[in-house]
Structures are given as C-alpha cells and as structure tokens.
C-alpha cells in the first residue's frame, strides 16, 4: 500500500483520469475487473481481485483516492478473513464475501436503472416544447442610458471597494540586546566616551536602534556607563564609568539620563 500512497502524493496520474470517467466509483471498477476476468460474482477470488484493485488505483491522486482506498481496505480485510482457517461444516459460518456480493449486485442494478434513466431522458429530449423563456426580471428599463463619466464613476466605486492587501513585515531577527551590550562593551574598552550616534554605528535599522537603547539602559543600570545629555535635543553622551565609585555628581544639570548610575537604586 505504501507505493500507491507515495506516488499519489506526487500528483494525479493523468492516465487514471480517464478511468475515473469510465468508472463512477470503486464498485464500478470492481465490476469491471470481475467482468474482465469472467469471474462468477458468487465466488470471487478475493486475493487476486484485491491485488488487481490495488494495482489499478496505484496511480490515483490523493484527492480522488478516498473512496477507492476505503474499498481497498475492505478487500484486504476480506482477503484476511478468507485466509482464516475454518472447520468443515461449521455451523453459522457466513461467507465474508456475501456483503460485498450484495453490494455489487445492488450497484449493478443501480447502473441498469441509471442507464434506463439515461435513455429515457434521451427519448424525452427528442421532443421539444415551445422555446419560450420568460425574460429575466431584474434588467434595468431599456434603453440603458449611461455616459462615460457615470461609467468611470461606477468603476471607481468598485475599485475603491477592493480592500488593499494587508502586508505584515516580518522582523528577520528579534531585538538583540545581548549582542548590543557586547558591542558597546567593546567600544567602551577602546574609548572612554562616545556619542549616541557613534554607538548606533552606520545606517542602523530600527531593530539596531532599539537594541542599542535597551543595551545602554541595561549598562547604565549596572553602573558601567553614565549617560548625559549636554543640552535639550542633543545627542547624548555615553561615558565609561569606573565601577567602585558611585558618583551621582556625574549627572549633569541638564542630564536626561534614563537611569541613575547609582547601583543601589
């Protein structure tokens, strides 16, 4: 069974589409197999027919396969049931195939009735009624007056009604505060003081800005840097802090540092 399933996943085999037209279901296919083999429907060699059935549905696309696979399952179960040993003359033993035989005969009858319906409909179609059809009621009164402006206006209304596609931009990587901290620490090791613009580096993305800001706040909280803004709206200055001495005095009067450098706070 694994082979048909895996080949089916690769797409419908165009060869079987014709078969689908030919048979309107697994029972139709089964009847066809029995007829081809000239098999007595009352004594179906289940094992052979099951194998042929599986072979026939091998190239079936998954979408059409459900009904056929269900029948394949039934056939395999019958095959197993037929293999089970039974005592001769055992009372109450019912041929496991009888249900299938009943269904096949019933379906064959349905097919006969269907073909009778088909030819009855054909016979009926040979006779024509008057070709009168009532006019569709919802048409606007004729003649339809419409100038170009009105038409364009209508087009605009329709176009305006089309919702613009909602686009979500996906952030390729999340905020990298840890990385920004490492970068800033490296800069601090080299220089005692640098500006916010320098800290950002060339052409920062919005994620870089946010990461750097969070990293600076974190470093300030740990007391490793002090942040100072010399005047309103100026780029603030990042200054390396020597750890042991907590110096609140470093906060300049106009300082807009995010946090005190006091580690005890």
């Amino acid at each position: 069974m694994s082979t048909p399933a895996s080949t089916a996943a690769l797409g419908a085999d165009p060869g079987f589409v014709v078969r689908l037209d030919q048979f309107s279901g697994p029972l139709g296919l089964l009847l066809h197999l029995l007829r081809e083999e000239r098999i007595d429907i009352a004594d179906i060699p289940i094992a052979r027919i099951a194998d042929q059935f599986l072979h026939a549905i091998g190239g079936l696309g998954l979408n059409q396969a459900a009904d056929y696979l269900e029948m394949a399952g039934r056939l395999l179960r019958l095959k197993v049931q037929m293999l089970l040993p039974r005592r001769d003359g055992e009372e109450g033993w019912e041929d496991p195939r009888s249900e299938l035989v009943r269904r096949l005969l019933e379906y064959q009858l349905v097919k006969e009735v269907a073909s009778w319906f088909g030819s009855a409909a054909e016979r009926r179609a040979d006779q024509h009624p008057r070709g009168y059809l009532p006019p569709p009621p919802e048409l606007p009164p004729l003649p339809l007056t419409l100038d170009l402006v009105a038409l364009l206006k209508a087009v605009e209304t329709v176009i305006a009604g089309i919702p613009s596609p909602v686009l979500h931009s996906v952030v390729a990587r999340p905020l990298d505060t840890e990385g920004a901290i490492r970068r800033l620490e490296a800069m601090l090791a080299e220089r005692e003081e640098f500006s916010w613009i320098e800290a950002l580096g060339p052409r920062p993305s919005i994620v870089d800005v946010l990461s750097t800001l969070l990293a600076l706040l974190e470093l300030a909280r740990r007391g490793l840097v002090s942040l100072a803004q010399p005047e309103p709206f100026a780029s603030f200055v990042i200054r390396r802090e020597t750890l042991p001495e907590p110096i609140p005095a470093t906060l300049l009067p106009a300082a807009d540092a995010a946090e005190s450098t006091d580690p005890t706070s």
Binding site: D67, R102, L105, F117, A120, Q127, H128
Partner: protein, 196 residues
C-alpha cells in the same frame, strides 16, 4: 371542422405554457367547465393533432399535459440549431437519481453506501437543477436530510408519475438468483444484516 371552444382554450393555454399543465390548472380557464369536460377537450385536441397530420402532439407528463414537437423532427430541429437539446446528465448524476427515485425518501449516507462514493457534489447539483428536493429529515442520529424526486425529474424522463418507473425485476442483472428484491419491487438491503 373547427374545434369546440373549450378545446381551443386548452390549446391556447398549452401553447402559451412552457411546462406541463395539470387538468386542474386547465379547468381554471373556464369556470363553467368540469374536470371531465377538460379531459374531453384534451382528448379532442390530441385526436385533432394525431389525425390531421400535425407536427406536434399532446403528451402526458409529470402529472400534467404539454404540447411537444414530434420525435421525428428532433434531428432536423437540432441540426438547424433552432433549439437546444437538454444537456445529458453525467453517470454519477444518473446513478444518484436512480437510488433516490426508487428509495425515496433517502438520506445521503445510504446513497453513498450504495454507490460507494461520496455524493455531496452530485446531490447539490441535482438540487440546483431542480431534479431532487429535500423532503424531510430522518429520525437517525444527526437527523440527516432526506431527498426525494421532483416533478421536474418526471418531466426530464418523460414519465407521467413515479408508478411509470420500471419495476426492478424487469432489469436484467447478471447472476439473477442473487438479486434481492422485496415484493414491492424495490431493491433493498433489508434482507442482509449490517456487516459485523
């Protein structure tokens, strides 16, 4: 010899309508006419068409009467593309109709069991074409919808009523001894217990 006035009235109505008209509908044409009068008028019209060499005939269809062109002209009419032939139904649609016509009212599950394939799409398109309709709900779990055939189904097959459907014994099914039919002529699963 001119037709009598009620017959003319019936002829006009059948000509104007594009569907079968019942005797009751035709009776409303003349308040003084009895149903028997209408039937007499229909007979007169039919004989008139048949014996005077007309190309149309009165057909009893789906519980009513309709004037249709005679079969012998079908090919010429279609070849000249004067009118279209009713499109043929698919095998799946015909099989589904077959089950519904003989088993109605019948639910989707039973149809699928008999045909061995899912029936949702076929049922919907048959319903859209007006050939079947929902006639109720089953008492079974989930109260599934039950389907039955419509007058349009009879019209499509050219039948007067459901009793005109052939009895199932008339079909030549292979290995006849195994066919299980009930005395009513229905093909039925009732005699075989559900699989264990």
């Amino acid at each position: 010899m001119p037709l009598n006035p009620l017959t003319q009235l019936v002829e006009a109505a059948l000509f104007a309508a594009n569907r079968p008209l019942t005797v009751e509908e035709l009776q409303t044409l003349d308040p003084d006419a009895a149903l028997a009068d209408v039937r007499t008028a229909l007979d007169e019209l039919r004989e008139h068409y048949d014996f005077d060499g007309h190309a149309v005939e009165v057909i009893e269809l789906a519980g009513g009467y309709q004037v249709l062109s005679r079969r012998m002209f079908a090919e010429a009419i279609e070849r000249a593309q004067i009118t279209m032939r009713i499109p043929r139904l698919t095998t799946a649609a015909l099989e589904t109709l077959a089950v519904i016509a003989y088993r109605q009212p019948v639910g989707r599950a039973e149809i699928e069991e008999i045909r061995g394939v899912s029936a949702g799409g076929v049922l919907r398109s048959l319903q859209e074409r007006g050939l079947i309709e929902v006639v109720g709900r089953s008492e079974a779990i989930g109260r599934p919808l039950l389907y039955g055939s419509t007058p349009l189904f009879l019209e499509l097959l050219g039948l007067r009523d459901l009793a005109e459907l052939p009895r199932t014994e008339e079909f030549n099914v292979a290995l006849q001894p195994h066919v299980m039919t009930t005395p009513d002529g229905e093909f039925s699963a009732a005699s075989v217990p559900a699989e264990s």
